[in-house]
Amino acid sequence: MKMIEAIIKPFKLDEVKDALLEMGVQGMTVTEVKGFGRQKGHKETYRGQEYTIEFVPKVKIEVAVTDAQMPRVIETITRAAKTGSIGDGKIFVRELVAAVRIRTGETGETAL
């Protein structure tokens, strides 16, 4: 099993969610986050006073998937979240060592 973390542009959330649902992903966790990569924030000016906003608002999606699903999930997120301009975000993948469905006690891939 793998845990896929995707940091994407907030306005792309709906598109990514719809694309993932369509390819068979059952659920996901979404968090509003802030951060920066190579985009390095943006500038705001108030009465001539300039502020560099280093941490840009992003959305983080976490999806737990089977090893078999992983390549297609990554491909789907990449396609749906892409605008082609700087700041589109990143995808990170981790090993997932265990999963439990609390209601039934099921474990492993059947719990996803």
């Binding site: 000016t45 108030y46 009465r47 001539g48 006073q49 502020y51 906003i53």
Partner: protein, 462 residues
Amino acid sequence: MNRSVRIMTTMLSVLACAILVGATGLYAQDAGVPASAVTAPLVQEAAPAAAPVPPKIDTGDTTWLLVSTAMVLAMTAPGLALFYAGMVRSKNSLSTIMQSFIILCLISLQWVLWGYSLAFGPDKGHLIGGLEWFGLNGVGLEPNVDYAATVPHQAFMIFQMMFAVITPALMTGAFAERMKFGSFLVFTLLWATFIYDPLAHWIWAVGGWVRNLGALDFAGGTVVHISSGAAALACAIVLKRRLGYGKEHMAPHNLPMTVLGASLLWFGWFGFNAGSAVASGALATSAFVVTNTAAATAALAWMVVEWLYRGKPTVLGAASGAVAGLVAITPASGFVGPMASIAIGLGAGVLCYGAVLWKSRLGYDDALDVVGIHGVGGIWGALATGLFASKAINAAGADGLFYGNPAQLGIQAMAVLVSVTFAFVGTFVILKLVDGLMGLRVSEEEERMGLDLSQHDERSYS
């Protein structure tokens, strides 16, 4: 901490004693009414020809003045309260609103007790009013012909009260986000008594020495805006910068709130300027028109200059420009025509934007730009009055430089110099005094936590 509480308690006791003394005076005044009512008909019968014609109250004038008073009140709360609260960080927004709101309450009382008497009471040596009108003793419902011959004296008094209220409230922008609430109250009371009241006397009262020089200030450009601007500079210098100034993110937390506040200021300013005609008619209308024209021009001017210089027209810039235009037209509003008001608005938008940009180079932390907008805008307005004033608009005024009277510009410059010097030095002294007695700034921990929680145990957004 105990010390500041003791000082606060002492101040409150002084206020309470003052109320008692005032009440005694009023009682004596009430007791006098039946006596004069009895004697009056006798006097009239004895010498009908010698009786002076009593000044007659005009209901139209009185209506306009009372409505104007309520409009000027709305400039402080909610106008200024929202304008400033939107520009601070969210952790200080409620305390910023509180400062304007409580000044409204504090100065309302101060003005009734001794403020009005010091400012407009019987002249003492061209410098200050006497305490004869303490507790509004003798300030009744008959017109006072010296100031407003067609409205009850109390109507003029309460209209003037709203000017005394907004002036210290304007200043709160300079020390925003870092002043102790108790010290702020003591400072405000001292400032109103020792800076505002004398200055208002000099410039507006019968016998005031700057008024005697012939300086023109229709609605308070000098008394309200230049004085608060110069005092704001002293505040920014004495209180020093906010923690993290220039390094941390201090952007406005709610600009829609600021624009709402600016729009309410604009609305209330019709009472401020057109109300200063103290009559409902031609002069009030003329002041109304130039007020609106200058505000609109200045907002556009600030927006365009910022657009050209920085690349983006900002909302805060447009709102600030409108306020700068309103400040600048204030002293001129009863003396200039529409075309002059366009020139005054244009100058205000450009000059005040420049002043605000310049501030960051000078290094002092006038948090909400009271110096740049009220100080610089006020000085420009006072000088522009010396340029554009015309007797064709107001026969009781004077001609300015462009109407063949260059001397007026010199008189205006003199009034500016006097107000700036007096307000700056006086404020500096009062601040040092209050600092020595009870300290001006909150502790570092309280400042980091924000004044809403540290001073009031509340927050704006929970």
